[in-house]
Amino acid sequence: MFLSDLKSGERQVIKSINAGIRLFNRLASMGICEGTEFNLIKNNVGGPVIIEINGSKFAIGRSMAEKILIGKIDL
C-alpha cells in the first residue's frame, strides 16, 4: 500500500521509497526513510499527506506520497 492510499491513523512504517537519489536523500535528511515509523495526521483528497514522525509534522506532496510504500509494523 502507498502512503497516498492510507486513510486512517494507525501507526505505520515506511517500507520503501521509489524516488531519484536527490529526493531520496532529501527525505532521508528529514528523517523520512525506509524503516521510519509514523502516524497519519491528514490525507485530504488530492492534497499533500501530513504525517507525524517523533513529534514533528511533515507535509508530503501527493505525487511523492504515491511513491512511498508503507505497511503495518512487524512485531
Binding site: N25, C33, N44, G47, K57, G61, R62
Partner: protein, 680 residues
Amino acid sequence: MKSIKIAIVGNPNVGKSTLFNVLTDSDQHVGNYPGVTVERKEGCVDYADYRMNIVDLPGIYSMNAFSPEEIVSRRFIAEESPDIIVNIVDASNLEKNLYLTLQILEMRVPVIIFLNMIDSANRSGLDVSAILLEREVETPVVEGVARNKGVKELLFEKCVEVFENKPDLTTVPYSETVRKYISKIKGILSKNHSEFAKDWIAIRFVEGSASERESLDSCTLDKIDSLISEISAVSGHKIHSMIMVQERYSLIKNIIRKTCSRSSVTTENLSSKIDKVLLHDRFSLPIFLMTLFLIFQLVFTVGKPMEWLLTKIFEKFGIFTGSMWADGSDSFLKDLIVNGIIGGVGGILIFAPYIFLIFMAISVLEDSGYMSRVAVIMDKWMGKIGLSGKSFMPMVLGFGCTVPAIMGARIVENKYERLATIMVIPFMSCGARLPVYLLIISAFIPFKFQALALLMIYSTGVLFAAVSAKIMRLTIFKGEENPLIIELPSYSRPSFRTILKLTWERGRHFLEKAGTIILFASMILWFLNTYPKINTDDYNGLPNNKIAQMQAENSFAGRTGHFVEPIFKIFGADWKIASSFIASLAAKELFVSQMSILNAVSHNDDDSEVLQRKFKEDYSLPTAVAVILFILLSAPCVATFAAVRFETNSWFWPSVQYIGMITIAYVSAVTGFFFLKMFF
C-alpha cells in the same frame, strides 16, 4: 584581540535565529516558517579578549546541496572555514537533528553542539543527558534554552576553550563496508586534493550528493561510478545512498539509546487540534481565502487614510520647499527638486503604507506558523500549473509589490520551479498598478460594478501567470519533478516585536528603492518632460495648464510619445497614452502622473475627476480596456528588472521576461480591443 569566526548551523525551526539574536544582542527575526534565513546574517560581538564574528547560516536538514540554503551553507563551511561551528539541535527531536550533525562532523571543522529547548523536551517527558551525548559524539555539548539568560556566556566560554585548546576532531565511526568504499574512492581521486578534502569528497560520492563532479575528469568519474554501482549491488539497495542513510540512522539510534530516556508519553497537543480545523478537508480552502480577503480588506481600509495623509504631507512639503525661491522663479534647481524629486519620489512613497501593511500581514501569517499550512492547502491547486504549494505565497506577495515577491521566491528549492515562479510573478497585479485601474475604471464603469471590474483585472493577471507558468514548466523549465516536502512547525502566538521587526526589514527594501532607482528615474522623467523648453513668453495670456500641456507636448517625452504613437494607434491610443506607457516603464503608477501632465490637469485629489472625464471624452471603452491590459501585463518596472537580475544572477532571464511581457501585453491589448470593438 583575537577573533573567532563562529557559524550557527541547524535545522529550520530549532531556534537558530533566537540563538543568533542572543549571541549578538541584536533583534533579528525568529522564523516560524522553514527557510526564513536565506542569506546568511552576520553579527559581531566582543567577549573577554576575543572578537566573536558570528554568522547565522540558513536552516537546513542536510549538507546535500539540494536547496539554495544547503548550497550557501556548504559553500560557507568549505570555503570560509569558520573556526567553530555551533550546531544547534532541538533536544526533543534528536533523531532528525543529529543527521545534520553527523554530516557537519564529516566536514572536519571544530563543532560545539548546542542542545536547545531542553525545557520543552523535559516537559514532554524526555530526558536528554548532555554529558552522555558529549561522550557519545566526542564533541563538546552545551545544553540550555536559547532565549534564556546566561546562554551567551556559556557558549562563548566553550567557544574560547575549543578555539584555544584545539581538541582532536571527531571521526564519524562508519562501518567497515562504508569505510572501505570511502578509501577506495579516495584512492582514485587525484593527488591535488588534501587528505581532508578527499575524505569529504569520497563521502559525498557515497551519499550521492557530490557537487564536485564537474571538477573531475571523465576517467576518474567512470571509476568512481563503477564503484558506486558496486555499492548498490553489494548492499542490495536500489539507491546506493541508502547505505549511508542506514549507517547514519543506526549511529543516531545508538546515540539516542544511550543518552535519552522517555519517562512519559505526550498526548495530542494544541497544534494538532488547530490543524484539524485549518487543514480540514473541505474548510481549509474557504478559511484561507477568507483570511486572504480580510487581509486585503484591512490593508486597503487602513492604508487609504495613510495614503491621503502622505499625499498631503508631500504636497505641503513641495510647496514649502518651493517657497525657498523667490516667487515666480524658474530656477532649474527649484524645478528639479520640487517637481522632479519631491513630486516624483513622493508620488511613489505614498504607496508605502500599503506595502508595509501587506508585509505586516504576511509576517503575522509566517510567525504564527500558518504560512507553511498555506503551502499545504494550495499545493493541490498549484500542482495543476506545474508548481508546488511553496510558490503560492511569493505569488500572493506580488499583489503588494513585485520586488519582495521575487525575493520571496527563494523559498522554492527547485531551480526550475523557482525560475518559473520568478518569471510569472510580475503578472500578479502589484499595488503600483492600482492607481491606473482606478483612473480608468472610475471613468468608464458605474460605481456599483467597479469592484467587480477590479476583481476581473486581478483575475486576468492571475490567469496569465497560471497559463505562462504551466507553459514554461512544460517547455523551458521542465526539470525534474519536485513534490512539496515541508515541515509544519507548531503554531505559536506571533510576537508584536517580531512582526514589527520583520515588517521593517522587508519594507525597508521598498524605501531603499525609493531612495535609489525611483529617485533616479524621477529625475530622468522630469528632465524628459521638461526639456526642451518652449518659450513661455510666446504664449502670454494662455492659462497655466494650457502652457504646461504645450510644454509637455514639446518635451522629449512628448516627442517620443508622438514617435511611437503609430504602434499603439491600432488600439485607439494616442501620443499621450504612448508617452505615459513609456513613463510607466520606470514605475507603473507614473502612467497616471504622466497622463495628468499631458492633459494639463494638475495632479490633485480634487482634479482626479477632471482627468477621468477627459479620459472618457478622448477614448472609447475598447481602448480603455486595451490600456488596462497593457499596464497589467507589460514589462515590469525598473526595480523588478533589477530584482530578477539579482535573484537569477543573469541578464538573460530578466531580458526574456521584459521582452516577453511587452509582447504578450501588446498582443493581448490588440486582441482585447478588436474583440470588444465587435460589441461597442
